[in-house]
């Protein structure tokens, strides 16, 4: 639609004028903030962008959600190009490939669009800020810790069921986890395999099957992806391995509730994905309004989440993940 031309020009000149941050600048209304998740129709990203929608509503901006049906970098590029053509004010994107989206993102920035990445970062020289759900280190450690708890005092074999072989997040968490496992505390744990379910429900399901056939003594499956953990839990809960093999990792409470209640899963973790989108929207608005530029140390207010400080390399860390158990799971609905 062509009704928002005015706000465009406003925001354009606004950012142009202030190369330096003005912490006291008012948040603009009517900002066009577009979310581009890794793919549409992924329940996890839907929760994330849902949080973004709430934030944009609070900011009285224009919310838009676009995205490909497949999690490929190239289809994201077409959408970024479209968003540039539509002259959005902020693009909030979860990059499917840190480099492939770069040229387009830089074109966007050249067109005075603020680029915030969330969930999965793009190369740091082609975005203005990155909303990190938790530090890579923190998640990796937490995964190792949960694995140890589940395996019990005797330790034993554990396996990882990840997303795609080239998923940036998962790979860095697994790296940290591997380093962690080398420590003496974890001596009794043996990581026997990293399998990939491609974030496809069925493939993950079959990979879980394969793991149990190949490693009869497996004690724990650690799945650092919401699709993987749900599929693994589902397989275990319906097979003879129930009660013998534990499943843990990162999962959505709604998807996992059933398996927590039937004791297939005793503990898993996740940050609140809705908060990521929420924070990203506020960060984008703050930037488009000139409150921040993305430099280290700058502070801004993110609505109900309170104040955040930009870290090194333009990273904004959401906070520590929440652990879910039978006791607390009913308090969450996402």
């Amino acid at each position: 639609g062509g009704t928002t031309k005015d706000s465009n020009t406003n925001s354009g000149s606004g950012t142009q004028a202030s190369a330096a941050a003005d912490p006291n600048a008012a948040l603009k209304e009517g900002l066009k903030i577009a979310f581009l998740p890794k793919q549409l129709n992924n329940p996890y990203s839907d929760v994330e962008t849902g949080g973004g929608k709430v934030a944009v509503g609070e900011l009285k901006g224009e919310y838009k959600l676009v995205g490909p049906n497949d999690a490929s970098a190239s289809s994201q590029v077409s959408y970024i190009n479209t968003l540039i053509q539509q002259q959005q004010d902020v693009i909030v994107v979860a990059a499917n490939d840190p480099n492939a989206v770069c040229p387009s993102l830089n074109q966007a920035r050249a067109a005075k669009i603020k680029v915030i990445t969330f969930d999965s970062d793009a190369s740091k020289d082609c975005r203005d800020a990155f909303i990190n759900q938790a530090t890579t280190q923190g998640i990796g450690e937490s995964l190792a810790k949960m694995a140890l708890e589940q395996a019990g005092s005797d330790g034993g074999e554990i396996a990882v069921l990840s997303a795609t072989p080239n998923a940036t997040n998962q790979n860095s968490w697994i790296e940290v986890m591997k380093k962690e496992l080398e420590k003496p505390d974890y001596a009794k744990l043996k990581l026997v395999k990293v399998a990939y379910g491609n974030d496809d429900d069925q493939k993950s399901f079959q990979e879980a099957q394969g793991l149990l056939q190949s490693y009869p003594n497996l004690k724990v499956i650690v799945a650092p992806t919401t699709v993987g953990i749900a599929a693994a839990a589902r397989y275990i809960s319906s097979s003879s391995y129930k009660g013998k093999v534990a499943v843990t990792g990162l999962g959505l409470p709604n998807q996992m509730r059933e398996y927590v209640k039937d004791n297939t899963v005793t503990k898993f973790a996740l940050w609140n994905p809705a908060d990521i989108g929420y924070l990203a929207a506020y960060a984008g608005a703050a930037m488009a309004s000139g409150q921040i530029t993305g430099a280290e140390g700058e502070k801004f207010k993110a609505g109900k989440l309170g104040e955040y400080t930009i870290g090194a390399n333009g990273e904004i860390v959401l906070g520590p993940p929440t652990e879910f158990t039978k006791e607390n799971i009913d308090q969450f609905n996402f």
């Binding site: 676009v66 995205g67 190239s74 190009n81 479209t82 053509q85 539509q86 490939d97 492939a100």
Partner: protein, 333 residues
């Protein structure tokens, strides 16, 4: 024999002409009614979006005209992209890598060609197999990694425009290749033989056409072009990855069929296919600018594909009925 008018008229109502007119109409309507559609930057984006489909469609058209199919093209693209990343990591220069990648694509084509013409296996089955094989090899080569640090002057050339104007650099490539393929397909003995092979391979064989050899070379060319597109794809996204171009094969086949090429072989023209590709890309671009969701784009693509064959059939049927009724009326009188 001297009567050429009906031939001329039948050509005018042929599907490739209709689709060309339709394409122009869509372009015109979109430039007026869709905001930002007509801008030069959007033109560049569109050309970049249709680059892989249009290039792969060139040899694919020939292959489908001979009654065969190549579903492995997107996987060949992925494999060359992987190889490109791997070779780059080995420290080869980009000037060596690019021709090497085209050769790798051609080798994929040689394998297809050998299985299909040498062993006489059905191409649909073979290329479903190599679709999985080449994609798998792509992952073997590069695994989960991505290689990104290609030289800027190359990546920039692919996404850039001539003299910073409105004409993308790759458009030269597209036009040059399209002209070459067009001439070969429509104005050479080789091109003629493709139609004969597609419509009746045995009769072609009896006419002295080397059916197997011709098909073999088509697969080699198809592989080489897919390899070239693998290079261009990698440079455009400055990212060599094993999953590059996944699923592109169906888009290419859809575009070729939309352009009026018969899936049974023997019929179709390259201009029709080019129009088909442009129509699809332009429509998707315009709809995206209008915030139509990707899901709805699926429906549009699918419907177009079916309608592209259905509509001409319906018009012929209606015309035939009308003609018959007229005859009956004349007889009744």
């Amino acid at each position: 024999m001297s009567d050429t008018r009906p031939a001329w008229r039948s050509r005018l109502t042929g599907w490739d002409t209709i689709i060309a007119v339709l394409t122009v109409l869509v372009l015109i309507i979109a430039s007026f009614s869709v905001e930002n559609f007509g801008t030069s930057r959007n033109f560049t984006f569109m050309v970049l979006d249709l680059l892989p489909i249009i290039l792969i469609a060139l040899p694919m058209t020939m292959i489908i005209v001979t009654g065969e199919i190549d579903l492995s093209v997107a996987s060949t693209l992925g494999l060359t992209s992987s190889m490109m990343g791997w070779l780059w990591n080995q420290g080869l220069s980009i000037e060596t890598i690019i021709p090497l990648c085209v050769v790798i694509g051609a080798i994929c084509g040689v394998v297809n060609g050998f299985l299909i013409t040498g062993l006489g296996l059905p191409s649909l089955a073979v290329t479903i197999g190599t679709l999985a094989l080449y994609r798998g090899l792509a992952f073997v080569v590069l695994g989960d990694g991505a290689v990104a640090d290609f030289p800027w002057n190359y990546t920039g050339w692919v996404t850039g425009t001539i003299g910073d104007g409105a004409v993308p650099n790759v458009l030269i490539l597209i036009v040059a290749l399209a002209v070459i393929f067009g001439i070969v397909q429509h104005a050479t003995p080789f091109g003629r033989s493709l139609y004969a092979i597609g419509a009746n391979a045995q009769a072609a064989h009896f006419s002295g056409i080397r059916v197997a050899r011709t098909k073999f070379w088509l697969y080699v060319v198809s592989g080489a072009v897919a390899g070239l597109v693998g290079v261009l794809w990698t440079l455009r996204y400055s990212s060599a990855r094993a999953d590059n171009g996944a699923g592109l094969e169906l888009a290419v086949v859809a575009a070729v069929l939309l352009g009026g090429v018969s899936i049974f072989g023997g019929k179709g023209s390259l201009p029709g296919v080019l129009a088909g590709v442009v129509l699809l890309t332009a429509l998707q671009n315009a709809l995206r600018l209008e915030d139509v969701s990707g899901q709805a784009l699926n429906i549009v693509t699918g419907s177009l594909l079916v309608l592209s064959v259905l509509l001409p059939n319906i018009t012929t049927a209606v015309r035939g009925n009308w003609h018959r009724r007229k005859l009956r009326q004349a007889a009744a009188r």
